[in-house]
């Protein structure tokens, strides 16, 4: 062979090699396309960084039917015993002498019996309660094993496998929203029905509320029902002095509600 030639390959040779290599070029694209497909699926799926949720509760609309507490138990397999609730309804009765009576028989699931004490009622109303999904959650601060945490979409969750059942978080919660699951022996609490949120469904208490006393939606979306609720109502959070920054907003809450 002559080495003087500037082109080591002739055009014909080059094309021949290219045609042989052609089937193998696909190798370079396969992982790329597969990754692209996976990535596309992931974006179509749920991206926690794109969401932040909050709930609004209108006390003027709550009729105390307890359907929220009942549905919550059915959805999340919360024990039916009347001591375990992820959400429950409290009845506030404020008498004319200024005393406040709060009761919640079986979380309100079976209705509220007539208040037996011969009270002169000044005002009375129902207050649905649940985990306030604090942005600064005391339960997360005290967890010694990192089992309870603030997820990226702002929901406080419990890692079932990591929780050791020490109950620090139950003590720390100023809203009494946590309980120790009697069989699993781990801390349990409202998750805003996280498994429903990622499927694009509402939390079940919001779904079944017959008077739409509960409103749920994105904090960051101007068109969300929650933002509308916040625009049209004077809202308070429970125990604001604790600086827990709750994400459950109450409209029409009396000063006695805490």
């Amino acid at each position: 062979m002559k080495k003087k030639k500037s082109n080591p390959l002739s055009r014909r040779e080059f094309l021949m090699i290219c045609s042989k290599a052609l089937p193998f070029t696909g190798i370079f694209f396969i992982p790329f396309t597969a990754d692209q497909i996976l990535f596309a699926q992931k974006t179509k799926e749920y991206d926690p960084t794109q969401h932040e949720y909050a709930m609004g509760i209108n006390i003027h609309k709550c009729i105390g039917c307890g359907r929220c507490a009942d549905a919550c138990k059915k959805e999340n397999n919360v024990p039916r015993e009347p001591y375990y609730f992820r959400t429950w309804v409290e009845r506030y009765i404020i008498s004319t002498d200024g005393e406040t009576y709060v009761d919640s028989p079986n979380g309100g699931i079976d209705g509220f019996p007539e208040f037996k004490d011969n009270l002169e009622i000044l005002r009375t109303f129902f207050v649905p309660k649940l985990c306030n999904q604090c942005a600064n959650p005391p339960c997360v601060q005290v967890c010694p094993v990192g089992a309870t945490f603030l997820s990226r979409d702002g929901v406080v969750l419990v890692d079932e496998k990591y929780c050791v059942g020490c109950r620090y978080c139950i003590q720390a919660c100023p809203y009494g929203a946590r309980f120790l699951h009697p069989t699993k022996k781990i801390a349990d609490k409202c998750t805003f029905c996280y498994h429903r949120l990622v499927r694009g469904l509402l939390p079940v208490c919001v779904e079944v509320c017959p008077t739409q006393a509960r409103v749920f939606g994105e904090v960051g979306l101007q068109s969300s029902p929650l933002r509308r609720f916040l625009r049209f109502n004077d809202v308070v959070v429970l125990k604001p002095s604790l600086n827990t920054r709750p994400k459950v907003y109450y409209a029409g809450a009396d000063g006695e509600v805490r």
Binding site: C62, G64, C65, A71, F112, F149, H195, T211
Partner: protein, 247 residues
């Protein structure tokens, strides 16, 4: 330059330290799950485990897809904001296997009062009843359609309200007589029963239309002589017309 000589005991200590540190590193790798600390001081996989929880409530959109014949009138009714599953219970299984699992419906009288029983704590204006006084014993559905709960139409039968009377009259000799044979019922009585009353007979001669001697009718009807029977008393002073005693 000669490197300083490291004492033997230091080397030994360094060796022990190296083993301890290596053991710690290995233990850390073994005991801390790989996803811990990915997004914060927690196990990122725990979120996926929570997400994997099954749903029991399908949501009203799922119901709407098949049952639009119920949903259409309901979305314009007073119950438009009441989700299907609020009364019918969790129905995600029904969405998956419509024939195998059928959600129930609360037809008994105890369910509706969970919302509609009178309770002073309920907001003013919310429709409430005193369950003990409101047509006791009757299922709510006999008068109210839960999917379109307007106030019930005016009752077609007197027994809708006068149930106890209807119950005894049904087994009495007067069973075949309609209420309006003796009572004149103004149309308004159906709408405002507490203000417009039905008329009752006032004189003995009314009963005499059937029971007087020589009155028209079959031979089974007991006859009396109006002039001598019962003196100055009215018929219903002794006989209960809705359940006249046996002969």
């Amino acid at each position: 330059m000669k490197a300083p000589r490291i004492p033997k005991q230091i080397l030994g200590l360094a060796f022990i330290f190296a083993i301890v540190i290596a053991a710690l590193v290995v233990a850390r790798m073994l005991f801390i799950p790989p996803s811990f600390g990915k997004y914060g001081h927690y196990r990122a996989d725990a979120v996926n485990e929570i997400v994997a929880q099954e749903i029991n409530y399908a949501g009203y959109q799922a119901c709407m897809e098949c049952h639009d014949e119920i949903y259409k009138p309901k979305e314009r009714s007073y119950h438009k904001s009441v989700s299907c599953e609020a009364c019918h219970g969790p129905a995600a299984k029904h969405v998956e296997a419509p024939d195998e699992f059928v959600p129930g419906a609360p037809r008994e009288r105890g369910y509706c009062p969970l919302c509609h029983d009178y309770n002073p704590s309920r907001p003013t204006g919310f429709p409430q009843i005193i369950t003990e006084l409101h047509n006791p014993g009757k299922a709510c559905m006999t008068c109210h359609n839960p999917h379109n709960p307007v106030l019930p139409h005016t009752p077609e039968e007197c027994s809708a309200c006068h149930r106890e009377i209807a119950n005894v009259k049904r087994i009495s000799y007067h069973a075949s007589l309609p209420c309006v044979r003796c009572h004149t019922v103004p149309e308004k009585h159906m709408v405002q029963p507490k203000f417009v009353f039905a008329q009752v007979p006032v004189e003995r001669e009314f009963c005499g239309e059937c029971h007087a001697e020589g009155a028209p009718g079959g031979p089974d009807i007991p006859r009396i002589d109006l002039d001598t029977h019962g003196e100055r008393y009215l018929c219903w002073d002794c006989h209960y017309p809705h359940y006249p005693e046996a002969r």
